[in-house]
Symmetry: C2
Subunit: 402 residues, 2 copies
C-alpha cells in the first residue's frame, strides 16, 4: 500500500498536538497542550441570534446556495473595515482578499502556490508546528532563522536569504505561537527593508494580535509593506469561535488570483453560513464588546499561570511573560540537560499535559523547552497543573544534582 502513496504524504507524521488529544479522554486530565478558547469565551448566545438572523433575512437563500470561491462579498467589506481599524491595513480592493476556511488554509495555499519539492522556506525558530508540517506536505524544507528579544535576528535572516535563496519567510510576528513574543516595531521595519532588498515574500500569520493584554498596538508587517511582498492571514477562530473555520488572506491581486484557483480546487468556498455569521459579528460593535469581555478572562488566566510558574517551577526554568496570545514558552537551562519529550509520558500519568518544545523547531532541534497554553484550563486547574509539573521537574533537577 505505502508504495502507492505520494512522496508528499507517505512519511508525514500526524500533528503531535492532534495526537495528544487522544490522550485527553480522561476527564480529570488538565491540558495545557492545545490552543482551545475556554468555554465561557465562546459567544454561544450571540452566534445563535446571528445564525437565526442571517437565515431569516431577505437574502437567506443566498446563504445556503453556492457563492463565490473568493468569499461572500458583504463579509469581505466588513473585513476591510476590521483590518483598517485593528491592523492598520488600508486601501484594499475585493481582488486583494480571499476568505479562507481558517487561518491554516492560508498557510496551505501559500505552500501549495510557492513550494516545489526541495525548496527552502525560512521560519523563525521556534515556530508554529503545523506550518512546518504543511511545508513538508509540499516537500518544502523549513530552515530556522535565529531570534532574539526584539524579534528576528536580522543578520541571520539576511545571511540565510543569501545562502538558501528561500521561496518565502513564514512568521507569527505578534504574540507568536509558540513563544508568545512580539517583534518590536524597529525589528519589523528592518525585516521589511531586508525583504524589499531581496524581493522575498513573507507569509505573516496573525491569529492572536487582538488577544492583547497591554493594549499597545503594533503595526502588522502588512501595514508596513510597500512592495506588496507580504501575504497576510488572519483568523476568527480565537476571537469568535474555532468551529466557524473562517479567516481571511490579503495579498496582491496577482497572488490572490492564484490562491483563488487553489481555493476552487480544494473546498470550492468557505461555508457561507459561517461567513454570514462572522459578517454580522463584525458589525455594530459586537466584536469590540466581545473582545472587552474575553481579554480580561484570558489575562487573568495568563497572570495565574505566570504566578504559578514562579511559585512551583524549579530554578533554571526561563519563561516569557507574553503581552498577548494564548501561550507561555519556557526553556530549562541547557546545563540542566532536561529533555521535555522524555519526561512527557510520565507527566501525563500525573494527569497533566504540556507540549514538548522540540516539534516547534525547524533547525535547532532543542529539547529543553515546553509550551504551556493557559486559555482552556480554569484558574484552579492552572494552579493545580503547574504545581504538579513544577514538583515533578523540581525532583528531576534535584536528582540530577545528587
Amino acid at each position: 500500500m505505502k508504495e502507492k502513496l505520494s512522496n508528499r504524504i507517505k512519511n508525514i507524521q500526524g500533528n503531535s498536538v492532534r495526537k495528544i488529544f487522544s490522550l485527553l479522554t480522561k476527564p480529570e486530565i488538565i491540558s495545557f497542550a492545545g490552543g482551545f478558547p475556554t468555554k465561557k469565551t465562546l459567544p454561544l448566545e450571540t452566534i445563535k441570534t446571528l445564525a437565526n438572523q442571517v437565515l431569516s433575512s431577505s437574502n437567506a437563500h443566498d446563504v445556503l446556495q453556492y457563492g463565490p470561491s473568493e468569499g461572500y462579498v458583504p463579509l469581505k467589506n466588513e473585513i476591510f473595515k476590521f483590518l483598517d481599524k485593528y491592523k492598520a491595513i488600508k486601501d484594499l480592493s475585493l481582488k486583494n482578499m480571499l476568505v479562507i476556511s481558517g487561518g491554516q488554509q492560508g498557510i496551505d495555499f501559500m505552500c501549495k502556490c510557492f513550494i516545489n519539492p526541495g525548496d527552502i522556506v525560512l521560519v523563525e525558530d521556534p515556530t508554529y508546528l503545523a506550518a512546518l508540517q504543511i511545508m513538508k506536505t509540499y516537500e518544502g524544507i523549513p530552515v530556522g532563522v535565529a531570534s532574539n528579544e526584539d524579534g528576528l535576528d536580522i543578520v541571520d535572516l539576511e545571511e540565510k536569504i543569501k545562502m538558501y535563496k528561500p521561496k518565502f519567510l513564514y512568521c507569527v510576528p505578534t504574540f507568536s505561537n509558540p513563544s508568545g513574543k512580539s517583534y518590536s516595531l524597529e525589528n519589523r521595519k528592518k525585516i521589511i527593508e531586508v525583504i524589499n532588498k531581496y524581493e522575498l515574500h513573507i507569509l505573516e500569520d496573525d491569529p492572536y494580535s487582538l488577544i492583547n493584554y497591554s493594549g499597545n498596538m503594533i503595526e502588522t508587517l502588512k501595514s508596513l509593506d510597500s512592495k506588496d511582498l507580504v501575504v497576510y492571514i488572519t483568523s476568527f477562530s480565537k476571537i469568535i469561535a474555532p468551529s466557524l473555520r473562517c479567516g481571511a488572506l490579503v495579498a496582491s491581486e496577482e497572488l490572490v488570483e492564484r490562491f483563488g484557483v487553489a481555493k476552487q480546487t480544494t473546498d470550492v468556498q468557505t461555508s457561507t453560513i459561517s461567513q454570514a455569521i462572522v459578517c454580522e459579528f463584525l458589525k455594530n460593535d459586537i466584536l469590540e464588546n466581545h473582545l472587552d469581555y474575553i481579554i480580561p478572562i484570558y489575562k487573568e488566566k495568563k497572570d495565574k499561570m505566570i504566578e504559578a510558574i514562579k511559585k512551583y517551577m524549579p530554578q533554571g526554568f526561563n519563561f516569557i511573560n507574553p503581552e498577548g496570545g494564548l501561550f507561555i514558552w519556557g526553556e530549562f537551562d541547557k546545563g540542566l540537560n532536561i529533555n521535555t519529550r522524555e519526561h512527557f509520558e510520565k507527566v501525563v500519568t500525573l494527569d497533566v499535559v504540556y507540549l514538548p518544545g522540540d516539534d516547534f523547531y525547524a533547525s535547532q532541534g532543542f529539547t529543553n523547552a515546553m509550551r504551556l497554553n493557559f486559555s482552556n484550563a480554569s484558574l484552579e486547574e492552572i494552579e493545580k497543573g503547574i504545581k504538579i509539573i513544577g514538583q515533578y521537574f523540581t525532583d528531576v533537577v534535584k536528582n540530577k544534582e545528587n
Copy 2:
C-alpha cells in the same frame, strides 16, 4: 513574479464554470451552466430550526469549539446509517470515515495522497472537469477511458491499466457529471473484477445518486468492493445545501489515517456547525421527506428540458435522457462539424448560457458537445432558453447545408 510560483499552480487555469459565473451578473441571463440547486429546494426553514436546535442543546459549546479532524462523531454515526440505507455500504467503523468540507475536498485529498508529478490517473471520458483540474494541481496526468451505454469500456480500461500503470481510476458511476449516465450493475461488477486483478484503487464520486427519477437503486462500487480498493465520497451539497460544505469519505483504515493528515494540514476540520446541522437533518426522516419534496421538482424540470430539446434542437443533436442527477449531455453529429466552444460567446449575447463540452475531456478533446443543467432555471426559463439555443443552432446547421 510567475517564476516564483510552484510548478503545480503557475499554469493552472481557473475553473471554466466559475469563470462563466462572472458573465451571469445580468439578471435576464438564463443559465444552464452551473450545478446549482434551485432556490425552492433549499430547506431554509428546516436549517434555521436545526441551527437553533444545535446551538441550544446541552453540548452547544462543543459545536463552537475545535473538534476532531476526522469529523464530529455523532454525525459520523448518522452517516453510517445513511450509507447503509441508501448506498448499501455496511459494517463501517469510525476509522473508515473522514468528514470532508464538500465532496470536492475528497477528490483533492485523493490526489494529494496518491499523485506524484507525472503519475497517470484514469478517468471516464468525459468526466467532472474540476476533478481534471485538481489532478493537474498535483502534476498528475488524467487519461480518458472510453465509455459506452453500459458504463466504462472494460476492454479499454484493462488495456489502459496495463499500458499506463495508473495510480487510480476516478469515476462518477451514478448519474454522472457531465453525461447523466449510470453504469449498469453488470458493468460495475466487471470494473471491480478488473481493479481487483490489478489491485488498482478507484475514487468513486457519488454526489447525485439520491436525485433519482426512476427509483431503481443501483449498488455503489463501494458496496461491491471486497478488497478495500474503493475510496468512496459523497456530499450533502445537492441533497441539503451547497453552502454547508459537508460530505464524507469512506476508505480503508490505513487510507483514512493518511487522508486525516491531509485534513489536519489544510482546514483542520469541517465547520462543526455545518456538521451538527447535517447530523440532525439525517435523523428522524427529515432527509427522506426532503427528498420526496425535491425529486419531483427536479424531475419536472428535467422532463421540461427534454421536451424542449426535442422541440427546438436541430436534427443531429443527440442527447442522453438521464435517470437522475442534474445534467443533460448532448453531442452534435460529428459530420455537422459544430464546435460548441466557438459558438459560446454568441449564444451568451442572446442571454443564454450552456457549458461547452470540451473541458470535460481528459484525452479525446471533442468539441461537439455541451452540458445543460436543468436544476436552477424555472420551467419558463428552460422553455425559453432551449428555444433560443435551438433556434441558434438550427440556423448554424442550415447555413452549413447551404
